[in-house]
Point group: D2
Chain length 343, copies 4
Amino acid sequence: MSETRVQPLDGGPAARVLVAGASGFAGALAAQLVWRHPRLELVGITSRGDVGTRLDRLYPRYRVPMELTELDLDSREDIDAAIVAYPHGASAPTVAALRGLGALVVDLSADFRLRDLPTYERWYGEHGAPELLEGAVYGLTEIYRDELREAELVATPGCYPTASVLALAPLAEEGLLADVVIDAKQGVSGAGRGGGDEMHYVSMDENAFAYRTEGHRHRPEIEQELEALGGGAPVTFVPHLLPLDQGELASCYVQTSEPIGKEALEALYRERFSGERFVRVLDAPPGLRDVRDSNECHIHVTVEERGRVLAFSAIDNLWKGASGQAVQNLNLMLGLDEGEGIS
Amino acid sequence: MSETRVQPLDGGPAARVLVAGASGFAGALAAQLVWRHPRLELVGITSRGDVGTRLDRLYPRYRVPMELTELDLDSREDIDAAIVAYPHGASAPTVAALRGLGALVVDLSADFRLRDLPTYERWYGEHGAPELLEGAVYGLTEIYRDELREAELVATPGCYPTASVLALAPLAEEGLLADVVIDAKQGVSGAGRGGGDEMHYVSMDENAFAYRTEGHRHRPEIEQELEALGGGAPVTFVPHLLPLDQGELASCYVQTSEPIGKEALEALYRERFSGERFVRVLDAPPGLRDVRDSNECHIHVTVEERGRVLAFSAIDNLWKGASGQAVQNLNLMLGLDEGEGIS
Amino acid sequence: MSETRVQPLDGGPAARVLVAGASGFAGALAAQLVWRHPRLELVGITSRGDVGTRLDRLYPRYRVPMELTELDLDSREDIDAAIVAYPHGASAPTVAALRGLGALVVDLSADFRLRDLPTYERWYGEHGAPELLEGAVYGLTEIYRDELREAELVATPGCYPTASVLALAPLAEEGLLADVVIDAKQGVSGAGRGGGDEMHYVSMDENAFAYRTEGHRHRPEIEQELEALGGGAPVTFVPHLLPLDQGELASCYVQTSEPIGKEALEALYRERFSGERFVRVLDAPPGLRDVRDSNECHIHVTVEERGRVLAFSAIDNLWKGASGQAVQNLNLMLGLDEGEGIS
Amino acid sequence: MSETRVQPLDGGPAARVLVAGASGFAGALAAQLVWRHPRLELVGITSRGDVGTRLDRLYPRYRVPMELTELDLDSREDIDAAIVAYPHGASAPTVAALRGLGALVVDLSADFRLRDLPTYERWYGEHGAPELLEGAVYGLTEIYRDELREAELVATPGCYPTASVLALAPLAEEGLLADVVIDAKQGVSGAGRGGGDEMHYVSMDENAFAYRTEGHRHRPEIEQELEALGGGAPVTFVPHLLPLDQGELASCYVQTSEPIGKEALEALYRERFSGERFVRVLDAPPGLRDVRDSNECHIHVTVEERGRVLAFSAIDNLWKGASGQAVQNLNLMLGLDEGEGIS
C-alpha cells in the first residue's frame, strides 16, 4: 500500500476509499466527507440493513448520489483505504479482512482503542481480531500525529474521549492531574440511529438526563490515554443526553497535584495547542452551536474560587468526535494535508 | 396578621395575596398559581415595566385576566400576604414596606437568603433592609418546614440551590460530604425575560454552554445551607444553559468522608424523603421532561466505579425552583395544606 | 346504563372508567385525565404491547401509578364507561364488545366518525362493527352537545377535523363556504408512538414538511361535517409536521359564496362561540404555545386584501384534538359538568 | 467597472467586495460566503450598531476574523462590488452612494425589488433613490440569469418571494395560474436579530403561529414576478413562524386555468428546472432539514383529489433566501461560475 501514500503529482485522487457501515449517522457523514474530498475517491459505500437504498435518499442533506451495497471484499481489490463505521464488536473481523487486502483502515468503533485486551473483553466481550491490537494507532490526531503518518490501522476515538482527552491533555502531559470529574453532554445523534421510543422526538424534546451513571466504557479509554500522556488520574465520567442534534460538551473538573494560577493555566493551553488548526483556546466557555458541522474543538480553561481547574471542550460529535477526525487521520496516513476536505 | 393564619371554616379564601413583579417569568407563574389556588385570592399584580398590560396578553397560557399595575402600597391595606418577584437588590426595600403593612412575604430574590451580611454585600452590593435578615426563614420547604409554619418573611431559594441542596441534603445531614462538584444545567427560562441577543431563539437553538465559570453567587448560598445541615464541604458549582424552556438538572459529584455502598446510599435517601410528597427518589437518573410544569423534585443517587457518590436532581426551575415552592411555603405560613394549589 | 348518568349526591365517583389502549400518546393522556378527574374512577388501563408495565414508568409526567393489563372483558362487569384509544380498524370490535357489556364508549379512532360506510371502507378497509355506525354521535362537543348528552357511543374526532371544523363552523352554518384550503400543521406527538427513523429526534429536529399530499383520509371527514352544518364545500386539506411536541394549527383559506367584511366576520365568530368555555376568539393569530396542555381552542378570523377569509385555529392535538375532548364528551354523557377534570 | 468582470487569468481574486450591514443574520452570512469564496476578496465589513466588534465574536461559527467598521465610502475606492444588507428603506441611499463609486451592488433589502414606485411607497414609505429603480435587476437567479450577467445593481429577493416564485414559475410561464394561496412557514432567523421578547427562546420554543395576516408586503412582490413570467393571478399570502433556526417552506395551493394531470405537471417542472444546479424537483414533499446551510431549492408538485395543484418549495432562508443567492448573483455579475463559493 505504500504507493498510495505518494499522491499523484497532477492532483488526482490520492486514494480510492470504501466506507463500510455508511447507513449510520457517523458512516453517512464519513461517506460525504470522502465524496466531496478533493483528493479522495469514494469507490463504495456498504450497509448491513439498507442495501439497495441510495445514500442521498437516506440522508438527503449529504447529497451523496451512491447506492448502498453489501460488503463483498472478494471483489474489492481496488480499495486503497477504508473507513469502518460498524458497531463495537462487529467491526474487528471486517477490519481484519480489509487489512488482509492491504487497505489502510480507519476504524470508528471501540474495537482497537483499548490497548489492554482484558479491559476490552470486560466492557465489550470477545475480541474479533486481537492480533491487530498492537499495531493499531489511537486516532486522536493532536496527540498521535507522528504515529498516524505511519499507521496502517487507526482506531479513531468517539466523541466522549476526543472531547475529554483534548480538554485534559495539557494537564496530563505536565503530570498535574490528581482527580478528574467529567460531566459530558451530548446531542441525540450521538446515540445513533435506532434507539426506539427513547430517541423518539417526543421523548427527547424538552428533556435532558444522565445515563449509564454507574460505569461507562469510555472511562477506561479516557484513563488509558491520560496515563499515556504522562500522568493518569482516577476519572469519574458521566454522560448526559441533550435535546439537540449534533454536539458534545465535556465539562471537566480537575484537582491538580499542585496549584496552578489562571494565567499559567491559560498559557499552558495556548502553547500546547498553538500550532493546531482545529483546536481553539477561547477566553470564554465554548458553545456547541459554534462548532456544529465543523471539525473544530473549542476549549476554555479557568480556575474557580475553590481552586479547582475547569476545562471545557466543545466538538461536533459526528465531526471531530467521529468522521471528521477519521478523515483528518486518513489524510495523515496518505501523506495529504491534514485538513484537506474537512476545513 | 395572625388572624390570616386561621382560614375561614367555610373554605373561603384564607388570604388576599399580592404578587409584585408579575411580568417576569417567575412572577407571572406565581400570579397564576395564586389565581387558580382554591384558598387564596389574587388581589393585585404589579410590574415595573408593563403597567397597564393584562397578564393574559403577556402570558396567554397562564390565563390570568388581570391588569398589571404600579406598586402603590399606600392603598393596599387589604393585603394579607405577598409574593415578591423582583431582581436581586431591588427586592429588599419593597419587602420591607410590605412587612411594614403587616403582610406575610415570600421573596423570590436572593436578598434574604444569605445569613451573612458581608457575604451578601460581596456578591450583590449594598443591602436594602439588613434589619430583616435575621428574621427571614430560608424557604427550602423540605428542610425548614417547621420554621416556615411560623415565618413572616421567607426567602425562597432559586432553582440552583433548590435542586442542589435537595440532592445533597441526606449526605450533609449525615456529615458525609468531603468534596462536592455540582454541574448544573438549566433551561432558558432560568435566564429570565430580556437577555437580548444571547437569549434570542437563534442564539440558543442547538446550543449549550457553561457560564459564570469562575465563581457563581449561588455557591456561597449552597455552602451555607449544606453547612447548616450539619456538614459543609467546599463546593465547585458551574451552571450551564440548555436549549429547552423549563428545567433544572443538578448533577452532583461527591467524595464522601467515609465509604458508603450503593444500597446504604439509596436507603438513606429513601428514608430521608419518605414522607415528602414533592420529592421522589428514583432508581434511574431523572429527566427534565418528567418534572416540567410540576412542583416535583426527582432524585437519583448511586456510586460509580471510582467510589464517588453521584446525586442527580431534576426540578422545573419556575416551579419547585421558584414560584411553585413560593406557594408551597405560603401554604405553610397560612396554615394551609402544603400542596394546595400546586399538586 | 342510565343509572350511571345520575351521579351520587355525595359527590362520589359518577362512573368507573376503563381506558383501552393506554400505552399510546392519546390513551395515556386519557388515563391521566380520568385518573385525576374528581368524579371518575379509573378502574383499568389496558395495552396490547406493554402489558405488565406501569403507566408512570412509560409516561412519568402523567403520574398514573397503575399497571397496564391485557383487555379481558369477561371480567369487567364493573365498567360504566370506556375510552378506547386503538388504531383505526382495530377499534371497532373492541367498541362493540364494550357496548355489549352496557358500557358507555368514547372512541378515539376513526371507526365511527364517517357516517357513510363505503367512504369508510375506501379509506380504512373493512369495518368491524358497521351495525353501530348509525347510533354513534360525532364527538365535536361544540357542535353536537345536545346529542352527546344522550349518546352511548361517541366517535371523538382527531386533531385535524377538530381544529378545522371549529375554525370553519360559523361560516358553514351560514352557508358561506364556497372553496376551502386547509393548511394544517401538527407537532410530532400527532404521529403517534413508533414511527421508526422518521420520528427519531434527529429526523425531526430543525425540520418541517408536508405529508400525504395527494389525499388525506381526514378530508372526507371534514367535508362530511361541514356539509352537516348546513353548507359544504370542496376542501383541499394538506397536513404538515412541525418540530415540536404537542400542537395543531389549522390555517384555513376560504372563498365565501358572498362577500363578508371583517367586522361582520368577527361578530359572527364571537357570537357563535360566546357561550363556549373552551373556545376563545382572539384578535390576533393564535400560537400553539398558548394552548399546550389545555383543552382550549383559540381562533382568529380576518379578511385579507384579496377578499379571502382567513380562519386560524390552534389546539393541543392530544387534548382538544383527542383525550381532552374525549373526557369533555364523557362528562356530557354522564350528566356531569362539561369541563370537569379538564379545566 | 467592466474590468472587474474579467477575472485574472492566474485565478486570483476577481473582485474586492464590501459587505455593508454585516452584523445582521443575512449580512454576516454574506460576509462569510465572500470570505471563503475562492475568487472574491472580502475587503471590508461594516455595521451600524456593532462597530469595533470582530465578526467571529458575534458569529463564531462563521469564523470571519475581521472587525466591523463604520461605513465610510470616502476611503473605499478599492471596492469593486458590495453586498448591502440593510433594512428596507435604509438601504437605498447607501446603494446609491456605492453605485456612485462605480461598485457593482447586490442589495438584500426590498428597496429595488418593486418596479412600481407607488406600490413601493405604499408598503415601505418614501424611496431613497428612485432613479435607480429602472436599472435594477430582480435577483431571482433562475428567472433573470441573462439580465444578471449584465447587471450593475441587483435586488435579491428575500426568502418568501424566492421560495414562492420558484414554486410557481413553471405554471406562471405557461399561463396556468388562476388562483393562488401561499401558506409560508419560516424559521426564526427570518425575523432577524433583535425582535425583543417575541423572539426570545422561551417565546418561540414549542410555538408556531401566523403573522401579518391581513396583508403582507411580499404579496405585491410575488404578484409582480408571477405577472412578469407571463401570467399573474391574485395571490393570498400568509407567513408563519416555526420553532427552528433556518428554513423557509412555501406550500402553494393553485387553481389552474385549465386542468393538468400529475404526470404532465411533474414533466413541466422537471423540464423547466432540468439545467438548474440549485433547484431539485423531488418525488416527495421537501423537508427543511435537507436544504439547511445550502443554496438549494427543493420542489415537489402534485395534484390533490379536488384537482388543486400543490407546489411545495423548501429553501434555507439565509442562503437561497438571502445571502447564498446574493453571491450566486454576484458570481454572474462578475462573469464567474454561478456556483462558485456556494456549492
